[in-house]
């Protein structure tokens, strides 16, 4: 799954650099959204904090 995020980012970069800014930003937005979902999935361990 994390490799998919890198792949989407690489595609976004190539699209943007080759002149298709709008498509690049759209793919970046998808990657950003999936990154947040994946971050939420991994934030499961309780923090060992005591106040």
């Amino acid at each position: 799954m994390t490799s998919l995020l890198f792949l989407l980012m690489a595609i976004a970069m190539v699209l943007a650099w080759r002149g298709n800014r709008r498509a690049g930003v759209a793919v970046f937005a998808l990657a950003a959204l999936l990154s947040v979902v994946w971050f939420n999935h991994h934030v499961t361990d309780p923090l060992d904090l005591d106040f």
Binding site: T2, F6, L7, M9, M13, A31, H42, L49, D50
Partner: protein, 178 residues
């Protein structure tokens, strides 16, 4: 003949992209030379670094635009959240740490500072004096270095984690453990 300066915003974008390429190379050095496999949160911090690099790349290709800075800021905030989360996981005494420190700080602490610095650098003003563009070869070299490293991260992350999720404390590569 008047000597025009380089556009400082463009120069800063190029320097930022070069800096992030170096950061990704340092992460790879730690991974392969130091045999320090990145954890899921470490990989998400790399994704955030690539996100900031995407905003810098847009600025190099199309000239500085507010939306590109917005992308960089969003990516930096995401990276700050991920790195901050990992710092908090290890902040209490006796909770251990992940990986070997570099110059006294763990990579996730450096990462957190890097994202804070990115957000601060976005505040720098842009000059209005006549400027000349950066050499095209430099822009192309930096852009393709960033793109290549991002694509390479997709490959090595797949080799390490496979199609699903990485273990919290990875000890070996998924592709070699099958």
């Amino acid at each position: 003949m008047s000597r025009q300066r380089f556009d400082s915003a463009e120069l800063l974008n190029a320097a930022g992209l070069a800096g992030l390429v170096v950061v990704l190379l340092v992460a790879y050095t730690d991974q392969f030379a130091g045999h320090d496999l990145p954890c899921p949160l470490c990989l998400l911090q790399r994704v955030a670094i690539v996100g900031v690099a995407f905003g810098l790349l847009l600025n190099l290709r199309y000239g500085p635009q507010p939306s590109s800075y917005g992308i960089m800021l969003l990516a930096a905030l995401f990276g700050m959240a991920v790195a901050g989360r990992q710092v908090l996981l290890h902040i209490a005494p006796g909770t251990g740490s992940y990986g070997a420190p570099l110059l006294g700080l763990h990579l996730y602490s450096w990462s957190f500072l890097l994202f804070v610095a990115t957000a601060i650098l976005l505040l720098l003003p842009r000059p209005t004096s006549p400027v000349r563009p950066l050499p095209r070869e430099l822009q192309y070299g930096l852009a393709w270095a960033a793109i290549s490293l991002t694509a390479l991260n997709a490959v090595t992350t797949f080799l390490q984690c496979g199609p699903l999720e990485c273990p919290d404390n990875p000890a070996n590569y998924w592709v070699f453990a099958r």
